[in-house]
Amino acid sequence: MIATLPQDTRRWTTVMAVVLALGTVWTFLSRVPPAATTGGAPPPSAREGFSAPDFTLDLLGGGQVTLSELRGKAVMVNLWASWCPPCRAEMPAIENVYQAYKDRGFEVLAVNTTFQDSEAEAAAFAQNFSLTFPILLDRTGAVSARYLLRALPSTFFVDRQGVIRSVVIGGPMSEAVIQSKVEDVLKETP
């Protein structure tokens, strides 16, 4: 069955006017109230546009790191395991970018998924790749769960306000990909 438009031009103009008027009224009524866009930091969740969920984890070699204490810096949170081939493949690129940008306020938190790896393997891995950024140990899997870990590696680029600006699931990321994402998060003024 084929439908047809009304041949009467005036009737069609009326239909157009009514449809557009309804659309305009709905658009006006569904505006976002100012309070909703100026209400401070977005709620935490592991996705772009939300605040990065906070965590405190032990460091390989001693000490602790809390993500929220790095506010003012651009942070790359990378979840990895020593047995994961793409994680191994992208680590040298992460180290290169870290060396190039750390003086501009860039930090890498490499979260080892220790609950499915081992501290000894993580230490050997860090030594093997001569990693100079902090290696964190997620022994219970709580941080991986909070970041909805489904695939390794998973990387979250967090800006200076603590908001996730980009998420890359899987890998390996090339140096150009990491560099472009880091430049993005560094653009945010402290």
Partner: protein
């Protein structure tokens, strides 16, 4: 939400798979419709694939152009299989421009070609909705309703399901009851107009809207503009063509 599954060493991105399925179904429908409208089906098929190819390549090149120094140092990064390094808006413009250029070079008539593409576009929009269901993108505003879903740490409107159902309705309406005479372009305008109207209505339930001055949602304003253009074109194209003046 079920964005990935691992197949041996390969991480399969299900939203991408849904989009590929949409391209496959959409291009098959467009090819069939082109044959029905007595167009060169191979040309219509090529138009889609050149447009898609140019769109993907253009999206990657436009992204690389924004971070030129990074990609000049590591040009192999251009070939990375990372969807997060695409610039979709630029890809859309480049893809449509190249498809239009191809159609013009192959002398494809505008309105019948648009009508041939219409069911394919409608089917692709259903797949896009499914891709959003799988990825959790295009998520809804916070709301505690009987049908709310828990996503991104809150109860929300299932905006992706609304989107999919609306796209399905547009597909069924324009497939079962196409508008206008065969190949006059009206049915393609109907697909776009109904999709724009659906977006204007459903955007109000989204939690990720781009907000412009005055709290207006960008997608609704763009949708209104698109709807107005479509309705005006429908009115113009529905007029019977005047007979050409006889040459002396």
């Amino acid at each position: 939400m079920f964005p990935f599954f691992r197949l041996g060493p390969v991480l399969v991105q299900l939203p991408g798979l849904a989009l590929l399925g949409g391209v496959w179904v959409g291009s098959s429908l467009a090819e069939k419709e082109a044959a029905r409208l007595k167009l060169n089906a191979a040309d219509v098929y090529n138009l889609i694939f050149y447009g898609l190819g140019a769109g993907v390549i253009g999206a990657r090149l436009a992204y690389a152009a924004r971070y030129l120094s990074a990609y000049l140092t590591n040009p192999l990064g251009l070939f990375a299989l990372t969807p997060a390094t695409l610039y979709p808006d630029a890809g859309l413009v480049i893809g449509v421009a190249l498809a239009a250029l191809f159609g013009w070079r192959r002398k494809l008539p505008l309105r019948p070609t648009l009508d041939a593409l219409a069911p394919g576009l409608a089917a692709f929009l259903v797949a896009l909705g499914l891709a959003h269901v799988l990825s959790g993108d295009a998520f809804g505003a916070s709301a505690k309703l009987a049908w709310s879903i828990y996503l991104w740490d809150d109860y929300r409107h299932p905006a992706q399901i609304y989107e999919t159902l609306a796209a399905l309705a547009v597909f069924v309406i324009t497939w079962k009851q196409p508008l206008g005479r065969t190949g006059d372009g009206l049915n393609s305008l109907l697909v776009v107009a109904l999709s724009a109207a659906a977006r204007i209505f459903l955007e109000a339930f989204r939690g990720d809207s781009v907000i412009w001055a005055g709290g207006f949602r960008a997608a609704q304003l763009m949708g209104l503009l698109l709807l107005a253009v479509c309705l005006w074109l429908m009115k113009t194209w529905a007029q019977p063509a005047l007979p050409k003046e006889a040459k002396p």
